[in-house]
């Protein structure tokens, strides 16, 4: 039933809804950035935006099709969007080589410790819950 009514929705309306969903994401990003700028909270605007969208979805009680359509390609190609920022690595070769030792040490050892401790703790706690 629901699928049938969706198929009958006029193309213009659907396009408008998609546009509204994209605008919502943009607005949340702007709102998050603005809040961070004014409060100086050490969190990024996009994480605040994530929390706000989560709150909105909980209030609404469901994910609208238009939002689903807009977010799916963003999530699927997250790595593409990260490439331009990661390429900044080429800027800091000098800074990096000066502190290469401690950089590599913490990158390998602290990361291994973090992965190990997180996984071990979660596994333990989950198992205690479901024996």
């Amino acid at each position: 039933m629901k699928a049938a009514s969706r198929a009958q929705a006029p193309g213009g309306l659907r396009l408008l809804k998609l546009f509204a969903a994209a605008a919502l994401l943009g607005a949340l990003q702007w709102l998050g950035d603005t809040i961070v700028e004014h409060t100086g909270w050490p969190v990024s605007g996009s994480v605040l935006g994530l929390l706000m969208l989560l709150a909105l979805l909980c209030l609404r009680g469901g994910v609208p099709d238009s939002l689903e359509t807009v977010t799916a390609p963003l999530l699927r190609h997250l790595m593409l969007l990260l490439i331009p920022s990661v390429a900044a690595v080429s800027l800091y070769v000098g800074l990096l080589s000066r502190h290469a030792g401690v950089f590599i040490l913490t990158a390998v050892v602290a990361t291994l410790l973090t992965v190990g401790v997180t996984a071990w703790t979660l596994q333990r706690l989950l198992r205690r819950r479901q024996p």
Binding site: S46, A87, L95, L126
Partner: protein, 226 residues
């Protein structure tokens, strides 16, 4: 003028090639599209003699989209909300353990090898997503650029090391590995989960967002003590 069109297209082409290679390699970790795609882009920058700021300016729109993409993670998170709420206590316990380990182990190691305070503080928030880590390092008195590099190294290494380490620890639960990737390797780990085990991505997204906030708080508190 041409650059503003050419560089986003080059980035897209590099990404398309990287994804093709990743598929062909059977999703091998060393062929992770962020790694190979970035390598291609950096090679193109070097070959054409383009400075990074020029490239960054040209790809502004792509970089900006990463923000809404992080916001979009609310959708899978919401879908799994009931499940996550049921497991709230174990997940929060793991967050506390992992988040503290990431910051304190980094500071401890940096202190042990006698790294300057500003370097140690730049590396401390490296398990958080890049914007959070850069902000946290700057507020603590570190170098944001160094923080950004540490974030990339941690994301890549965390994603590379997670599967072999968990195999060694005999942990096979997909939820555990997704949560661990999100916590330790932020957006790069989440992107990996999205590509390999999309059904567990809520765990990774939850871990990334919670640890982003937790890292900022822990770094701020620890800095006050130091």
């Amino acid at each position: 003028m041409i650059a503003t069109l050419a560089w986003p297209l080059c980035t897209l082409a590099a990404y398309a090639l990287a994804v093709g290679l990743y598929r062909r390699s059977g999703h091998h970790l060393l062929c992770l599209p962020v790694l190979t795609g970035t390598a291609l882009v950096v090679a193109l920058l070097l070959l054409s003699g383009t400075d990074y700021p020029v490239y960054a300016q040209a790809t502004q729109a792509l970089r900006w989209l990463a923000g809404p993409a992080v916001i979009a993670l609310a959708v899978p998170l919401y879908r799994q909300a009931a499940l996550l709420r049921r497991l709230a206590l174990p997940l929060l316990g793991a967050l506390l353990a992992g988040g503290l380990t990431a910051v304190l182990a980094t500071l401890g190691l940096a202190w042990a090898v006698g790294a300057p305070r500003e370097v140690a503080l730049s590396l401390a928030p490296k398990s958080a997503t890049m914007p959070i880590a850069m902000a946290a390092a700057e507020r603590a008195g570190g170098v944001p650029a160094l923080a950004a590099m540490a974030v990339v190294a941690t994301g890549v290494l965390g994603t590379l090391l997670c599967a072999p380490l968990l195999r060694r620890l005999r942990i096979e639960d997909e939820r555990v590995s997704a949560f661990t990737l999100g916590l330790a390797a932020h957006a790069i780990g989440v992107a990996r989960v999205l590509q390999t085990r999309p059904e567990t991505v809520a765990f990774a997204a939850l871990a990334m967002s919670l640890n982003g906030v937790a890292t900022a708080v822990v770094v701020a508190v620890v800095t006050r003590w130091l």
